[in-house]
């Protein structure tokens, strides 16, 4: 099905099932521990052996020599695979650093060997006996030091390296009020609960992996490419995923090593990447240095806005596209952005929840707050007065929907923003200095082809199959709701099967594109199935109504199941998009409001309350969507106050590489979170009239926290995370 024109009325608009806060249909499996995660698939292959990954002990250099004798002789060892005996390996389309290192070492904890043994403990003990002599090289690990050598990256996923409209320099110089400030964001880790985990089994030259991966087709394709085998010989199965946040978008070391280990051992092999390796072996959100310059009239009208960003990566790695949102968020005739990439030898940087946009909004939305302060204008008012309903670089291009102003004004009213004292450091509640902060939330909606197969059987059960994944987001549930709405059956008549490369290729889960596109793909397949059923039952498909388990037209009504009396009816289709995403700018908007308390003595920062108001198209399931947004808000608090992969610039690694040292918020850090969805449908986006929502929730949160800390204390911190040591010297007396 091609989606070329704005959606008109369709069966989804009935909203009998869609739009309801349905609890997750796989929830009972998860709460009872019976949803099998990759490492727990004990039943899928007999005789599973265990793999333990050896990570590089240096950040840059090469392996001088490797001695496997002691490890091979250790009890239970079945095989050891290194680059020396792995055979020729290719590299996945979406990998920068090789997943199996050696002799060259690209980064710390890059996998250099897998030890396979009969038990986990045997594999772990033998791994300690692998003797490697490294020759250390000169690595570059300091972004600030490499910043000025930054290279201009090729246009990538996030846009061109340079953009310019009008005459930014003159407009800025001529502006009566100006801001020029530099912000930094640190490297951050996904820190998901389930580590990368896989079981691999070979049957002749065919490979099956049970894994934890957000993008099944990418994973299968890159596995085939890396192993140099036909794609048809690779099957990836990933029905349940214990958190990904972008860290599981790609083929990663544990699944490749499980496949290599299984081939070498002649047995199925399971591997869970050890927790201490999670932060340096896998990908992370790269650190940024960002400079923002804004010029405006005294009334706050922005005339010039510029945003530059520097980040680093390994060879073949991409920059963090932190400037993207500045191209679209606020009006202003003269504007520029620039993205530069430094060559670093730290682990590979890649997507983490709202890549680019989350980091960029962390800086931009502090800058707007600083600018409001400078202008003496309320930051909500300043944002509203610089709203734009068109793409500022291409004014002929409208936003499909843009309710930023409503998000800000509704949020301000609900939060009690009028009670905020604009004078910093002026509000006290016992030992706490109290402050309020606001930031815009803004994340683009991305459209991508997505396919599904739908089957009706003679019991009237509708089964959906697609390689779409559910990474804790609610995909199972919204896909079931879509099929139920389309076929006119209750939810318990729908079965959903996900995460298998034998199923039609979906959009996968990432970039907040999963919900809208995968359900639109199911919509397309269901539309086709409706036609097949109508034809089978002798209805005119345009007139047939599917409701309450029957198909009705005029006075005639036939139970749905009857259509499959002679055998299952199957339809497969994909949603494919025309030019609407080019004609219109499709984005999601919101406003984050945060109140913090800062201990007047210790400068400890604790969030007191949070509110998000979001406008993100039709909300397919308000309960699942709310869970996504409050989870993202929590992650935003982590980004604001504690998350920091600390670089040891001498040894070239993230040194705090476990969950005790890399702090993320705990329950006690998160107060009551309120979140509101504005009523919105976006017929430009898809037949579902929905858009992404999950990553909108993180964009802007950290800046709202930072702005609240400033309001509480008068101390402006421009280097994340905002920790008490950065406040102490400036605390009010």
């Amino acid at each position: 099905m091609r989606f070329e024109h704005p959606a008109t009325f369709n069966p989804i608009d009935q909203l009998k099932v869609i739009g309801h806060p349905t609890s997750r249909i796989e929830g009972p499996l998860k709460t009872t521990g019976t949803a099998p995660y990759a490492y727990e698939r004990h039943d899928v292959a007999a005789n599973q052996a265990y793999g333990y990954v050896v990570g590089s002990a240096i950040g840059k250099g090469r392996i001088g020599s490797i001695d496997l004798e002691a490890a091979k002789a250790a009890p239970g060892v079945l095989a050891i695979v290194t680059s020396g005996n792995a055979g020729k390996l290719g590299k996945g389309e979406r990998n920068a650093a090789p997943l199996l290192g050696g002799p060259e070492i690209a980064h710390y904890h890059q996998a250099v060997a897998i030890v396979v043994a009969g038990t986990f403990e045997q594999a772990r003990a033998a791994a300690q006996l692998v003797r490697i002599d490294y020759v250390k090289g000169d690595g570059k690990f300091d972004l600030a030091a490499e910043r000025d050598k930054g290279i201009t990256p090729h246009p990538s996923f996030g846009g061109p390296a340079d953009t310019a409209v009008g005459d930014f320099a003159s407009a800025l110089a001529g502006a009566p009020v100006q801001l020029d400030a530099t912000y930094t964001t640190p490297d951050q880790g996904h820190a998901m609960m389930e580590p990368h985990a896989s079981i691999a089994a070979w049957d002749g030259d065919k490979l099956t992996v049970w894994t934890s991966n957000q993008m099944i087709a990418w994973g299968a394709e890159d596995m085939a490419k890396t192993l140099g085998i036909p794609k048809e010989n690779v099957r990836l199965v990933s029905p349940y995923i214990g958190g990904g946040f972008g860290g599981k978008l790609f083929l990663r070391a544990e699944v490749l090593l499980a496949a290599l280990g299984a081939r070498a051992a002649g047995r199925p092999v399971k591997v869970a990447l050890q927790r201490p390796l999670m932060f340096n072996n896998t990908t992370h959100r790269p650190a940024t240095i960002q400079r923002i310059r804004i010029g405006a009239e005294r009334d706050g009208k922005i005339t010039a806005i510029g945003h530059e960003s520097w980040s680093g990566n390994v060879k073949d790695g991409e920059p963090e596209m932190a400037v993207s949102q500045t191209r679209l968020l606020y009006a202003g005739a003269s504007r520029m952005t620039a993205t530069r990439l430094a060559a670093l030898d730290l682990p590979e940087g890649n997507a983490m929840r709202a890549p680019g946009e989350a980091s960029g909004m962390m800086a931009l939305e502090i800058a707007i707050d600083e600018f409001a302060d400078k202008l003496g204008i309320d930051p909500v008012v300043l944002r509203i007065s610089n709203d734009t309903q068109v793409d500022p670089e291409h004014p002929e291009r409208h936003f499909s929907q843009r309710q930023l102003v409503q998000c800000l004004s509704d949020g301000a009213a609900r939060f009690g923003w009028d009670k905020r004292n604009p004078k910093p450091g002026a509000v006290r509640d016992g030992r706490w200095l109290v402050g309020m902060g606001v930031a815009a939330a803004f994340r683009n909606n991305l459209v991508a082809k997505s396919a599904a197969r739908v089957r009706l059987d003679q019991q009237g059960i509708v089964t959906v199959e697609t390689d779409m994944t559910d990474i804790g987001t609610g995909s199972y549930t919204i896909i079931a709701q879509t099929a139920a709405e389309m076929m006119g059956v209750p939810l318990d008549k729908v079965a959903v099967r996900l995460g298998d490369s034998d199923f039609p290729v979906s959009c996968g889960s990432g970039g907040q594109w999963g919900g809208n596109n995968s359900t639109a793909g199911v919509y397309a397949a269901c539309t086709k199935l409706r036609e097949t059923i109508a034809q089978k039952l002798g209805f005119n498909s345009a007139e047939a109504v599917f409701a309450d388990g029957v198909v009705r037209s005029g006075n005639r009504s036939v139970p749905l199941a009857q259509a499959a009396g002679g055998g299952d009816l199957v339809a497969e289709d994909a949603i494919e998009y025309g030019d609407l995403a080019k004609t219109y700018q499709q984005s999601t908007f919101g406003a984050h409001f945060v109140e913090v308390g800062v201990d007047a003595d210790t400068a400890e920062i604790r969030v007191r309350r949070m509110l998000a108001v979001c406008a993100a198209g039709r909300i397919l399931n308000p309960k699942a969507a709310r869970s996504q947004v409050i989870g993202a808000m929590t992650m935003g608090v982590g980004a604001a106050l504690m998350e920091d992969l600390v670089v040891d610039k001498r040894h070239g690694l993230f040194i705090n590489h476990d969950l005790a040292a890399y702090e993320v918020p705990v329950h006690a850090d998160i107060p009551h979170q309120e979140m509101i969805f504005l009523d919105e449908t976006d017929p430009i986006s898809s037949p579902m009239k929905a858009k992404g929502v999950a990553e909108l929730g993180i964009c802007g949160v950290a800046a709202a926290v930072a702005n609240a800390v400033y309001n509480a204390t008068g101390v402006r911190v421009r280097d994340y995370p905002i920790t008490l040591d950065k406040l102490l010297a400036g605390m009010p007396v």
Partner: protein, 316 residues
């Protein structure tokens, strides 16, 4: 697998004798620290002596009105004990500020005292650490040292002791009771239990090889306002950047011990004489020989401010 032998000790004396008589032996009680370190092969004992069967899990009153806390009393039980809550508030508060509910249910009194540092360089076996591998150097010096010690440090080690409980016990002048391999017992003032790193940071306590802690004795209650204030980046499950255990009497005298600043709970009795002069005077004495790094110099003003807040609240 990397094998180790295991036994369940029948008596404290037998446990100590077994520990002294077996190469590379370790006691195991709650295991919340030891097992983690074994998985990472930072601790590689050849023999484990499980002391959980020893009847050391009681809290009893001593003849002079104090409390004897068995070595195996779990942190949760100790924090909840009505006598501890009533008479030793600083200890109950310190315990509840530590770890998580799950860990406190498992962790024991003696194990808490003997837990090892959380320095990230101690935890990465690829990097130098004099505590883990004597003579290899200290990677924390010149590295990431925001959490590290500011006082009592050496060129060999700047690690901190992670315990909250021990800081309160230091303020309470607790005494550690032990049994030695030869069956004799002794009492060690808690001030003398933990060592400064010096040039042998791998030796962390004054315990002799095989010596087993059997109890911690608290002297009779000293009254006063008792506070434990732990400062950290997140609200729970984080080690102290700085913590203050304080007992303040009506007349303005009192005791102060700090956590998160040294290789052991940091108390300088001479500094307490300055209490009537306020926090600045006390911390000036506590930190007279401080040698902070660029990353952790903030701990000095932070400790002063935290102590000031504790004193203000105690006197309110």
């Amino acid at each position: 697998m990397r094998s180790f032998s295991y036994e369940r000790a029948a008596s404290p004396g037998a446990a100590a004798a077994a520990a002294a008589g077996t190469a590379n032996a370790k006691f195991i009680a709650g295991g919340t620290n030891l097992l983690d370190l074994m998985k990472l092969e930072i601790e590689t004992p050849a023999h484990l002596i499980d002391v959980n069967d020893l009847a050391l899990d009681r809290i009893e009153e001593t003849a002079d009105g104090g409390l004897r806390i068995g070595a195996l009393v779990r942190n949760t039980d100790l924090a909840a004990d009505i006598r501890v809550r009533r008479d030793y508030g600083v200890l109950s508060r310190a315990l509840l500020a530590g770890a998580s509910g799950q860990l406190r249910n498992k962790a024991t009194t003696a194990g808490n005292l003997l837990q090892r540092t959380r320095c990230p360089y101690f935890y990465d076996t690829n990097l130098p650490c004099n505590k883990r591998k004597p003579g290899s150097g200290c990677a924390a010096i010149g590295g990431f040292s925001r959490q590290h010690a500011v006082v009592g440090v050496s060129d060999a080690c700047i690690a901190t002791h992670p315990s909250d409980m021990a800081v309160a016990m230091r303020a309470l002048d607790a005494v550690v009771e032990t049994v030695r391999p030869d069956g004799t017992t002794r009492s060690i003032p808690i001030a003398e239990l933990h060592r400064l790193p010096g040039d042998s940071p791998e030796i962390e306590t004054s315990l002799e090889p095989g010596e087993l802690i059997t109890a911690v004795v608290l002297p009779k209650p000293v009254g006063g306002a008792q506070a434990y204030r732990k400062v950290r980046d997140r609200a729970s499950y984080a080690f102290a950047l700085v913590s203050v255990a304080a007992i303040v009497q009506r007349d303005g005298t009192g005791r102060v011990a700090l956590g998160g600043v040294a290789h052991k709970p940091w108390r300088v009795e001479a500094a307490e004489a300055k209490l009537p002069d306020g926090a600045k005077a006390v911390t000036a004495r506590l930190f007279a020989d401080a040698k902070p790094t660029k990353d952790n110099a903030y701990k000095l003003p932070l400790a002063e401010r935290t102590l000031a807040a504790v004193l203000r609240e105690a006197r309110a």
